[in-house]
C-alpha cells in the first residue's frame, strides 16, 4: 500500500462517523441514479417496443417525397421556368407494378413484406351508415408483417381467403352497429359499387379509432370495390431488426422511388420527446450525486483544517505538496469508490423491488410490472459519475492542503 494511501485510510478510519455519512451520501446517490435510470430507460424501451409492434416497421405508400419534375424544367436546367394551369393526368392511384417491387424487397435480408390496398368505404346496417377505412390484405402475407392476427377476438384472418365476401371489423364498431359474427352488412364504395358482405371476424386493438374505424377484406375484393385492379397503395414491411428500419427504408426508396417511411420517421416527434425526457432524468439524478459530492467536499475540508499540523510535520519531514494533495485525493477517491460499490448493490435491490411491483392500469386486461432496464451501461455511468464527482469534491481541499506552508503553522504554535 502506498504511503499516501495509508495516511488517507488512517484519516478516514479515525473519523468513522463522518466517513460513513459521506459514504451514505454517495451510496444513495448511486442507488437512486440506477433506480430512476433503469425505470426511465425501461419504460422507454417498453414504449418503443409497443410503438414498433403496433405499426409496420416501414410503410411504402403510393406517393412521392418530392413532386415529379416538369419536362419543361428538365429541358432548361438553371432557367426560371413557370408553368401555369398544370393539370395532373387522371390515373389509377396506387403503386405501379407492386408485385415486382415486392419481389425485389422480399429478397432483402431479414425483410418481410405484404401489400395493402386501403380506401374509404361506407358500411350500412339497419339504416345506420358508418364510414370506415377498408384494408385489402392477403391474409397469409399479412401474418408475417402485422400483429393484427393476435388482435382478432372472434373468427380469423384466414376466413377471408375462404370467403371472398367476408369482412373483419372492430368489436367496438360491431357493438355500435349492433352486429355480430355471421351477420351481413352492406358496403358502398366511393366508385359506386355496393356489395353485401359477411362478418367473419372481429378484432380489438384497444385503440378506439382503429376498433371503430377500420375493417379488413381480401385484397382482391378491395381492388374490385375501389376499382383499382392489380393495385396496392401500401406495402407494409416488418424487419428482423427494427432499428435497421431507417437504413432499409432509405435503400428501398432509392430503388423504387415511392415514399418509404420507417417507424422512426413516423414517430420522430415521440423520439425527440424521449430524448428530452432522458436529458431531464439524467440531470435530476446527477444532481443527487452533485449534492453528495458537497458532503465529501465538506468532510475533506474539515479533515484538511484539522490536519494542518500533520500536514506541516509531513512537509517538514520531506513530503512534497504533491504527496499531501495525493493523500486527500485518495480520501475522495476511496469515498467515491466504496460509495459506488455499496450504491450499486442497493441500486440493484431497489430495481428488483421496483420490478416486482405490479398493478392494473385502467383499460388494460391483467396486471403489468414496472418495466426495468437492467443494462450495465447505466451502472457504469452512475459509478463513474459518483467517483468523478467525489474526486472533484476532494480536489479543492486537497489543493489547499498542498499549499499549507509548514512555517506558518510552526510560527502559529511557537
Amino acid at each position: 500500500m502506498s504511503l499516501t494511501l495509508k495516511i488517507a485510510v488512517t484519516h478516514l478510519l479515525s473519523r468513522r462517523r463522518q466517513t460513513l455519512m459521506s459514504l451514505l451520501g454517495v451510496m444513495l446517490g448511486v442507488a437512486f441514479f440506477m433506480a430512476v435510470s433503469s425505470l426511465m430507460r425501461g419504460s422507454e424501451q417498453d414504449f418503443i417496443s409497443r410503438l414498433i409492434d403496433s405499426e409496420p416497421h416501414i410503410t411504402i405508400s403510393d406517393e412521392f417525397r418530392n413532386p415529379p419534375e416538369q419536362p419543361a424544367a428538365r429541358e432548361y436546367p438553371g432557367a426560371a421556368v413557370a408553368i401555369s394551369n398544370v393539370k395532373p393526368k387522371t390515373d389509377v392511384r396506387g403503386i405501379r407494378g407492386y408485385k415486382q417491387k415486392m419481389d425485389w424487397i422480399a429478397r432483402l435480408p431479414g425483410v418481410r413484406v405484404a401489400p395493402v390496398l386501403s380506401g374509404q368505404i361506407i358500411l350500412t346496417y339497419a339504416g345506420k351508415d358508418e364510414g370506415v377505412l377498408m384494408n385489402g390484405v392477403v391474409p397469409e402475407m399479412m401474418t408475417g408483417v402485422s400483429d393484427i392476427e393476435d388482435k382478432i377476438v372472434a373468427g380469423s384472418l384466414e376466413e377471408l381467403s375462404a370467403n371472398p365476401n367476408g369482412i373483419i371489423i372492430g368489436r367496438a364498431l360491431a357493438k355500435k352497429l349492433n352486429l355480430k359474427m355471421g351477420d351481413n352488412l352492406t358496403v358502398s364504395s366511393p366508385v359506386g359499387l355496393i356489395r353485401t358482405m359477411k362478418i367473419v371476424g372481429l378484432f380489438e386493438t384497444g385503440v378506439s379509432a382503429v376498433d371503430e374505424g377500420q375493417a379488413y377484406v381480401l385484397l382482391k375484393r378491395a381492388q374490385t370495390l375501389l376499382n383499382r385492379p392489380d393495385r396496392a397503395n401500401l406495402l407494409v414491411i416488418q424487419l428482423d431488426d427494427p432499428y435497421a428500419a431507417r437504413a432499409v427504408a432509405a435503400r428501398i426508396e432509392k430503388r423504387i422511388g415511392y415514399r418509404s417511411k420507417s417507424w422512426q420517421e413516423a414517430s420522430e416527434n415521440l423520439m425527440s420527446v424521449l430524448l428530452v425526457r432522458n436529458i431531464i432524468m439524467y440531470s435530476v439524478v446527477s444532481a443527487i450525486l452533485v449534492v453528495a459530492s458537497f458532503g465529501i467536499y465538506n468532510i475533506i475540508s474539515t479533515v484538511v483544517m484539522e490536519k494542518r499540523r500533520d500536514i506541516a510535520i509531513l512537509k517538514s519531514m520531506g513530503f512534497t505538496a504533491r504527496d499531501i494533495r495525493r493523500v486527500f485525493l485518495w480520501e475522495g477517491t476511496i469515498i467515491g469508490a466504496l460509495g459506488s460499490l455499496s450504491g450499486v448493490s442497493v441500486g440493484l435491490l431497489l430495481m428488483a423491488v421496483l420490478n416486482s411491483l405490479s398493478f392494473e392500469p385502467p383499460g388494460f386486461t391483467g396486471a403489468i410490472n414496472l418495466p426495468i432496464y437492467w443494462g450495465l451501461d447505466q451502472v457504469l455511468m452512475a459509478c463513474a459519475f459518483a467517483t468523478a464527482s467525489a474526486m472533484g469534491a476532494a480536489y479543492f481541499p486537497a489543493r489547499k492542503a498542498g499549499m499549507v506552508h509548514p512555517v506558518d503553522i510552526l510560527r502559529g504554535q511557537a
Partner: protein, 230 residues
C-alpha cells in the same frame, strides 16, 4: 572539520503592508559533529533563522549551502528531498501524527524515502526507539505517552533517515526539568558519540551550556557566536 552548513548574509523579510524583517544579514558556518545552540529573546528571529537553515523557509536574500551544495536556489521538490535525506526536525510541540502508533510515526520518513523495505524499516524504527528508552511503548499512540516520551519519539523520528543535521526548535521548551535534562543528554550524546550535528534554538541556558557553541541573535542579527568554555 568538514563544514556541513553555511549561511551567507541571509535576510528574511515577511512581506506585507508593513514588511517585517525576521532575519537580517545573518552569516554563520556549522561543522560536522558540532552542537550549536541558538539563543536570544522572544521575537529575536532565532526560530526564523532555524527555519531558513532547515530549508523550511526561503531567504529573501543571501545564500545557504548544505553539505557543499547551494540550496537557496533550488525548487520545492528538490528541497523536500533534501529535507527528507539530510535533515531531521524536533519541534517544541513534538508534532506526532495522532492516529499513528509510535512505531509508525518513526517509520514514516523511512517509508517516504523508500531505501529500506518494510521489515528493515520496522527493525530500524524499533531499534531507534529502544535506544531512546521507548522499547516498551512502540505500539502505543502518542497521546498515551508523557511529554518527555513524546519528545523522544520525535527525536527518533528525526533520526529515522540518518540525517546529517538535526534541527531542534525549543526541544525542551515544553518539558519539566527531568525530561529536559534527558532530552539534552540524548542530543548531546548524538553529537559526541553518534557524530551527528545538532542545531538547536533554545531559551534554556543549561541546554545551551551543554552544547559546543552558542550563537546569540538579537533583532534578527547574529550578535555573538562563541565556543563554550572558550
Amino acid at each position: 572539520m568538514t563544514e556541513v552548513l553555511r549561511a551567507e548574509r541571509v535576510t528574511r523579510v515577511l512581506p506585507g503592508e508593513v514588511p517585517v524583517t525576521l532575519v537580517r544579514d545573518a552569516s554563520l558556518s556549522v561543522s560536522r559533529g558540532e552542537f550549536v545552540s541558538i539563543m536570544g529573546p522572544s521575537g529575536s528571529g532565532k526560530s526564523s533563522l532555524l527555519y531558513l537553515l532547515g530549508l523550511l523557509d526561503m531567504p529573501t536574500s543571501g545564500r545557504i549551502w548544505l553539505d557543499g551544495e547551494e540550496v537557496s536556489a533550488l525548487d520545492d521538490r528538490r528541497i523536500a528531498r533534501i529535507r527528507l535525506e539530510k535533515l531531521g526536525f524536533v519541534f517544541q510541540f513534538h508534532f506526532l501524527l495522532a492516529e499513528f502508533s509510535v512505531l509508525d510515526n518513526v517509520m514514516l520518513p523511512m517509508a517516504k524515502l523508500g531505501r529500506l523495505n518494510e521489515a528493515e524499516r520496522r527493525e530500524r524504527a524499533a531499534r531507534l526507539l529502544d535506544d531512546l528508552g521507548l522499547g516498551d511503548h512502540i505500539r502505543k499512540r502518542p497521546d498515551q505517552l508523557s511529554g518527555g516520551q513524546r519528545q523522544r519519539v520525535a527525536i527518533a523520528r528525526a533520526l529515522a533517515n540518518d540525517p546529517l543535521i538535526i534541527l531542534a526548535d525549543e526541544p525542551t521548551g515544553n518539558l519539566d526539568s527531568v525530561a529536559s535534562a534527558n532530552v539534552r543528554d540524548i542530543l548531546s550524546a548524538l553529537v559526541h558519540e553518534g557524530n551527528k550535528t545538532v542545531l538547536a534554538v533554545t531559551h534554556d541556558p543549561d541546554f545551551a551550556r551543554a552544547g559546543d557553541r552558542q550563537i546569540h541573535i538579537i533583532d534578527g542579527r547574529v550578535e555573538t557566536d562563541e565556543v563554550n568554555g572558550g
